[in-house]
Structure formats: C-alpha cells, structure tokens
Symmetry: C2
Subunit: 182 residues, 2 copies
DNA sequence: CTACGATACGGAGACCGTCTCCGTTTAGCA
DNA sequence: TGCTAAACGGAGACGGTCTCCGTATCGTAG
C-alpha cells in the first residue's frame, strides 16, 4: 500500500471509531469522510461496505474480548456467579456502540458477514467459558454454546434498543443463567 | 372524515399491510403511496410518522393477540408446556413482519411510541398468562412480567435478524422457561 | 534528477427515500 | 347551484449512499 493510502486508511478508521461511538452504527459515512479530510470516493474505495469499516475498527476490540474471557475464567467462586460475570462482560463488549448487539448477534449466523472473523473471537471466548462449566458438570444437558450467544445477544439487543441500564439487564441474565444451570 | 379521505385512508392501510409483509418495516412509503394511487402528501397527512401507519395496520392484530392468550390459558397440561406454548404464540405474533420483534419490543419501554396502545394489548395478554402461573405458585420469586416480554422479545429479535426457524427458537424459549419456573 | 506509469485522490452528481409546501380539486352543505 | 372547508397530489428540498472519472501524487527505473 502506498504511504498516502496508508495514512488515509488509518485516519479514516480513527475518525470512524470516534463518530460511531458518538452517533451509533448508522452515522453518515460521508460525514466520516469529511471529518477525516478525504473525499467520499476514498472512503468507499478502502471500505466498500459499511461493515468493512466496522471490521477495521474492531481490531482493538478482539484483544478486549479475550482479556474478558480470561478474567471470567480466573474467577474463583460459584458457577452461577462466574456465568453471570461472563454474561455481563459479554453484554458490555457487544454494546460498545449503539446498534452493536443486533449487528454482532446477527453476524454470528451469517457466513458471509464481513465482521465474521471478529465475531468468531467472541464465540470462541464464549465457548471456553461454557466448556469449562460443562466439564464441571453444572450445565443442563443439551446446552449449545451458540444458543448461549443468541440468548445473551437477545438480551443485549433489547437493552440497547430500550436504553436499559445494567441494573435492569441483570435480572434478565439471571433468568437465562438459571435456565442453563442444573 | 370526508368520504374521499376515508377511501384513501383505507386503501393506504390495505396496501401498506401488503407491502410491509413483502418488504419489511422499512419499505419505501412513497412506494406505498404510489401503489395506493395517492400522492405522498396524502399519505403523510394521514400518517405523519411511519409508526402511525403501523398502528393502523395493527388493528386486526390486537384481536389475534387476545385470542392467542385465551388459547394459551385454556391449555390443560403442565405449566412448563403452557408457558412454552404462550411463548411460541408470542414470538409468532411479533414476528409477522421482518423487523417486527425489534420494533415492538423497544416500544414496550417507550411511553411516547405511537404503537404503544397496541403493544399494551400484548403486555396485558402476557400479564394474564404470567399471573395465572404465579397464582399456581410455580414461578420463581421476583419474576416481573415486563422482564418476560423483554426476554422473549429478545429471542424473537435475534431469530428475526438471523432467520432462525421455529425449531431453532424452541430451545432458547425452553431455557428462559426453565429459568422462570421453580 | 527526471520522467513516467501505476496508484490513489476527491468531488460532482446520480439515485433513492423522506417529508413539506402550496396551488388545485372536490365533497357536501345551504 | 354555488360556496367553502377539506382533501389532494406532485414538485422539489433535503440528506444519505455510492460511483465515475479527470486530476494529483507516489515511487521507481533510467
């Protein structure tokens, strides 16, 4: 990549991260281009679809995901509480931007999603937590890790769309946790 | 209302029902106007916001909701199965159109939503089912009816966005049911 | 150091959906 | 039949997405 192209690429990602945080996932891309000091053409050449831009932004996010799952696994305490802590981390991780829970949760089942690779980091983090509980024998039979992602993703989605705070989300997560544990 | 106005109103609602079913909630309103043989001005005078049109469409829907809750309450069988049957009805009712689950579930917590009154029919139907189970003493303590709506609405939302079929939704509903029952 | 070709830029503008304004038409009453 | 309030509808402003293509720049080969 040419040096000027790299500069613009980096600058667009940086600005986009900021704008998406301010305005959510459907912020105007032309506005991002303008703020980054490039023409719309440049933005669309680097990122043909909105989601390609999202994908680039998420580079730093994957680190947070693995850190969060390790933190959850390191917890020394009751299984239910471990699970709930992980769920809260999970919700927080996918709720960083408005519209995030819906975008990410629906990408889980879409093999052609441009952010698929990033989401797989999340699902495999979730797998690690669930498998650990399964080995401890505290899970009900037939619990599938992708089902867990859907359940928690669903809660995060309604919380995002209804502007619920963590206190309102917690009891919902508890219901799911109780439904999963023996 | 003048006779011609009434004619146009009815025709728009009829066409909108059809178009929303075909294309989902974000179909073009101008297209609906065109198909209904009226100008966009006419459509927007009758229905200033997209949701006002939704509200009109839902008139027949409220009947289905109450019928569904009565059907669920009439079920003679295990509590868990009763709850699951209601959940499946609930999901079906809010998933009639693409984007429906998200729209309806987020309207539950938004006092200014134009479709609020219609959604209240749904929440009170849900209340009846949950209260019946509470009287039977099979619910865990602290279960709140609006939480139930959010949980099931969340599942319906991810199912809608991920194109899941009833067979994939059922186990998710089971987890929630098990988390709610003693 | 220069010249050249490949690469990248960026803005004009096409396209589409939303929504409004206002001149024109029409219903329905007296 | 004539009048007026009510309703109509389409032109067009606006904002967002995305493309095309003439122009500018990079980086290298000579």
């Amino acid at each position: 990549m040419r040096a000027d192209a790299q500069r613009n690429y980096d600058r667009i990602v940086e600005v986009a991260r900021e704008v998406f945080r301010e305005q959510g996932y459907d912020a105007s891309l032309d506005e991002i281009a303008k703020r980054a000091g490039v023409g719309p053409g440049t933005l669309y050449r680097h990122f043909p679809k909105r989601e390609n831009l999202l994908d680039a932004i998420m580079q730093s996010w994957v680190d947070r995901v693995t850190a969060a799952s390790e933190k959850a696994l390191a917890y020394e305490g009751a299984d239910r509480e471990l699970l709930l802590r992980w769920f809260e981390e999970y919700v927080a991780l996918i709720s960083l931007h408005k519209g995030g829970p819906a975008k990410i949760t629906s990408a889980l089942g879409d093999p052609s999603s441009p952010i698929l690779t990033k989401c797989q980091v999340l699902t495999s983090a979730n797998d690690r937590v669930i498998e650990r509980l399964r080995e401890d024998g505290v899970l009900r039979d037939g619990v599938d890790t992708v089902q867990v992602c859907r359940l928690v993703g669903g809660i995060a989605t309604v919380a995002d769309q209804g502007d619920l705070d963590a206190a309102a989300v917690r009891p919902l997560l508890e219901v799911v946790a109780d439904g999963l544990l023996r």
